[in-house]
Amino acid sequence: MKPTTPAAEACIVCEGPTTFKTVTWHRNPDRRIFLNNCGVCGFVRVVDNPWNYAEKGFSDNSTSGPRVGTESRTGREFHMAMLGLDLLDIDNARVLILGAGLSRDWLHISRDDRVDSVTTSDLENFNQSPDFLELDQQGTREFDLVIACEVLEHLTNPRVDFVQIFSNLSSRGVFVASTNIYDFSPLERHWYPFIPGHVSYHSAGSLECLARASGLRVDFRVPLVATQRAGRRKRYVIFSGHDDAMSTAANWFATNWYAPSEIDNRR
């Protein structure tokens, strides 16, 4: 007998009541997903939408397109790191890139004067990083800056996975993630949860809930790419345990319109 998913379950982020929904992509009636949408924090859990990059590879544009840094061109992780380093304002920063995939941005980031080391972590060392941390070794080393570009939506057990990610942070560390944020508009017009492998579609509320559970603050900033091809729901999500980092972010955006991203090649 085919295993079934319970129609209603507690939210895996906040334990609030959820509603089971079938959502059909508005441009193709044959593309549908099944999901649980939390009525409290807004988190969307996409049911049965797996994609194993180790087995199936990086084929779609989102994992091999312009946001992914190459030997000769910086990608989004590089720009996220530059913002994070500005917020940290320290020398000798230890940087961890989670879920780097094929991106070679570790190379560009390591050339910044403020950086001491760049470590990557993923299912496998897809990008030939010289300093690779196995996923199950998270929390064994401290990092000042953790970057996760298009990773949060792949995490199947957010409450456990976020604690693990936060365990990499030094006491004044900053975690910068990039993901789409669910804004409660009709889901049939959102392509994001239809992308294979996207099992967690976070709202600002669900990310705030996860931050609070670990005693952290969270901020949402708009990257330049959100005004163009990435769409208006793309955000950089900044986590830190210190109000200072939040204030520094505010200062940064007093003189800049948007966070830097892969279409911002001024540096």
Binding site: D219, F220, T227, D243, A254, T255
Partner: protein, 283 residues
């Protein structure tokens, strides 16, 4: 960052401290916000906007000389709500009320002038009381509207509000520290203050129309603003308003302030779903 840019600009601009200092004038006094030394300048007339000013060497605050006395705030502005179209005060109040997420909100707007938003704001269901503060000579358009209480600035000294709105006020203050502090002190401990103004970013002053407005006394930087806010126990957040994008107002910002870290988290979380700070619509 701004200090760096100010320094670089001063060395390369035609309106630099070295070649545009008012020769023979006494040295400029200390900065009114941070007490650091200031340097005198004269902006190079371009489109007839030449004006003398001092720039703080530490916080970057520009003090604009020759300011006229702040006129009665009665002139029409594009940001003002009209009978047909909501304006900035309404957009700010609606967004803030939703993010504060509680009923019975006491709300104050400083000197809304010709805005007709008063009645719209007063009708927001979460807002219980709506006051607008006026200075001598102000003739607020919303006076007499249902639910709108017009009060003198002196009368609200001991009043505390959940939401305080001060749109395009900061640059008009006679005393930048005491005036700004007075606005902040209007908020209760978990209250939210929303300021709108241009923030100086170190660009060549000559090209910035904002500094040429005769009623503007100050061109604030985020550093100067944050110093006053911190002294009053406030956290600061800065967002790009929608109108800045539509009208290419490069330096226009909405500044959200509160003493309460939880209120500040509410502000940040609200921007998970908002790409820009809600503001008046472009015409």
């Amino acid at each position: 960052m701004i200090r760096d840019r100010l320094g670089a600009g001063d060395r390369s601009s035609s309106s630099t401290a070295s070649n545009a200092t008012v020769n023979g004038d006494p040295p400029a006094g200390p900065c009114k916000v941070c007490s650091a030394p200031t340097t005198p300048h004269v902006s190079t007339p371009e489109a007839a906007i030449g004006r003398s000013y001092t720039a703080c060497t530490l916080c970057g605050l520009l003090e604009l000389d020759g300011s006229v006395e702040t006129p009665a705030n009665t002139g029409a502005a594009k940001r003002h709500g009209s009978a047909k179209r909501p304006g900035r005060e309404f957009a700010i109040a609606l967004f803030a009320a939703e993010l504060l997420g509680r009923s019975g909100l006491r709300t104050l707007t400083w000197r809304p002038g010709n805005s007709a938003d008063g009645q719209r704001v007063a009708r927001i269901p979460l807002i219980e009381r709506y006051d607008i503060a006026i200075a001598d000579g102000d003739e607020p358009r919303s006076a007499g509207a249902d639910g709108v209480n017009v009060v003198g600035i002196e009368a609200i000294e001991h009043e505390r509000y959940d939401l305080v709105i001060a749109s395009e006020i900061l640059q008009l203050l006679d005393d930048p520290v005491e005036g700004f502090a007075q606005i902040l002190r209007g908020a209760n401990p978990s209250g939210l203050v929303v300021i709108t103004t241009d923030l100086y970013d170190g660009s060549p002053v000559d090209k910035l129309r904002f500094h040429a407005a005769p009623e503007h006394h100050w061109f604030w930087t985020i550093d100067a603003l944050s110093r006053v806010a911190r002294n009053e126990g406030f956290f600061v957040d800065v967002r790009l308003p929608e109108i800045a994008v539509h009208r290419n107002l490069v330096r226009k910002r909405f500044v959200y302030l509160s003493r309460d870290p939880e209120t500040m988290q509410r502000v940040r979380t609200a921007f998970g779903a908002e790409i820009h700070a809600p503001s008046e619509m472009a015409e």
